[in-house]
């Protein structure tokens, strides 16, 4: 797999031999994966397999104990979450990371608010316009860009979180169980948004326990068992039984 690093078009992100231990307990070991633009890769595995840990290593929340990360072919070293963001990597966390008492548009621009030139005052109108346009593009329906987050449904909140990631991601979007708490209709809405990220030529890594969803969405499936990568399959060339036995380790 190493030869891919020398391709003319390097993958957006390559993980090589990533290892992470918490207090001596190994959470992730010898993990390698390439992510390309316009591709959705699903990361599956049982509870505690290390999926969220990998997401947090890519997003800079955790520093790996070993291995390397390459962004567009260059070795990178994310000191914290904001440095990964600056490099075009956005995360939709399992626990959302929205400011619940603020408006939708202020959440979309959280930490990156737009201001008017001379006095540096907030340009609310522009933030609202951009938010409205983005939500329309993604077909996310909410009462108003000025709605307060806590008055939205779970699906609408997830929509806002994904819209924010879409707005700012230049390279890669990481989604950690984005539909775990959602109903059927909300789930299919979120799945459509995730598919549309592909059309924006972003690389997508999605963590999910829902294998039907994984098969609907992904181009490749990466299976993790007890911190070890046990295989990557092109979605079209595998089937559920194979993935299940890879996850559980039972033939």
């Amino acid at each position: 797999m190493n030869e891919r690093l020398n391709d003319t078009i390097a993958p957006v992100l390559s993980l090589r031999g990533i290892r992470k231990a918490f207090d001596g307990i190994v959470a992730v070991e010898e993990f390698s994966l390439d992510l390309d633009r316009g591709e959705i890769v699903a990361l599956v595995g049982d509870n505690g397999a290390g999926k969220s840990t990998i997401v947090k290593i890519i997003s800079g929340v955790h520093t790996p104990n070993g291995g390397t990360l390459h962004l567009d072919g260059k070795t990178v070293d994310f000191a914290d979450a904001s440095s990964a963001r600056r490099k075009g990597i956005e995360v939709v966390y399992q626990d959302l990371a929205l400011a619940n008492q603020q408006t939708v548009y202020m959440n979309l621009f959280l930490g990156r608010e737009i201001t008017h030139r001379p006095f540096g005052l907030l340009d609310r109108r522009r933030m609202m316009t951009e938010t409205r346009k983005l939500l329309e593009d993604l077909d996310i329906r909410i009462p108003s860009t000025r709605s307060t987050i806590r008055n939205l449904s779970g699906g609408q909140r997830q929509g806002v979180a994904i819209a924010r990631a879409t707005r700012w991601a230049q390279k890669l979007v990481l989604l950690d169980e984005p539909t775990a708490a959602l109903g059927v209709a909300e789930t299919s809405k979120v799945e459509n948004i995730v598919k549309s990220l592909k059309d924006r030529d972003l690389a997508v890594l999605i963590v999910s326990h829902n294998l039907d969803q994984v098969f609907r969405l992904s181009d490749r499936i990466c299976v993790l068992r007890r911190g070890k990568q046990v295989g990557i399959r092109p979605t079209g060339e595998t089937e559920k039984n194979e993935i299940v036995s890879m996850i559980t380790g039972l033939a």
């Binding site: 995360v91 959280l110 201001t115 109108r125 409205r132 329906r141 008055n151």
Partner: protein, 332 residues
Amino acid sequence: MARISLRSNTNDGSELTQIRSFLTKLDVQKYVVYLGFLAIFLFFAATLHDDGFLSTRNLSNIVLQTAPATIMAIGLVFALSAGEIDISFGSIVAVSALVAAMVMRGQPALFGILAGLGAGIAIGALNGVFVAFLGLPSFLVTLATLGLFAGVARSLTNLQSVPVLNDFFTEFFGSGSVAGIPSLVIWTLAAVIAGHLVFRETRFGAHVIATGDNPNAAQVSGIRVPRIRFLVLTISGACAGLAGLLYAGRLQAAKYTLGESDLMTVIAAVIVGGTALTGGRGSIVGACVGSLLMGMLNNGLILMGLSVSGQMIARGLIILFAVAVSLREFNR
């Protein structure tokens, strides 16, 4: 909740939809303080008409007397909105006033002003260092500095009050006026407008609210949360310092008791004014109206002829009621 499609709502900016969204947002919570203000005003106007409540002199007295509390309230809005609390401001008021008055015994007013404000900023920054960079809870830190600087204020002049004889200072912060508007009113207005602009219309203000709302979200969004925590407590100290100067200017003297009795009034004014104790929401204008409401209450209870203990009991009960009403609305 009705899920209106954004598609059918693309005229979001038009007047009609603005009016509609204004009406749907017209929940009581935002307006509790204004309604309460109006209700209490009308009550006193009716019952205390013959006692001079409505006289220009009495009304302007209310405004002048609340000026320092309003300035303290502005600082507290910043602290509370960021999810912190400052209960040390009363002691900061006394120290700042005393330091300014002592410096002005031999130095021009400018040095007194700088020293007084500097003391407020320094104590606020000290609170900020303990909270933001050592990770201690702001309630405990400012409880400690409340006591600490109450002691400092007492020892600075051995409990003696220090007269302020500098005419420029007493006019600038007290009895002076510009175009008929008393300087205390100008200071209050300037502080409210500046505070409101910074709080509502700058990135810093947005980061303050975001930090109080969800510090984790703020952190992963690239907001430097410790810096925000440090700055809000420093701002609170600076506001208390300015309030100390206003007291010294109006009373033409500084004493360790200044600011001592403002804690309950200021916290009540801020909460009634729509600021969440738990962070993430605040209003400078609301706090200003809340402060006027408290001042009016004080004044009315005195005019009603209540004894000092009666006033304290009535005020406590009314504040309890007012805070309960506003918090019920917020936590719905």
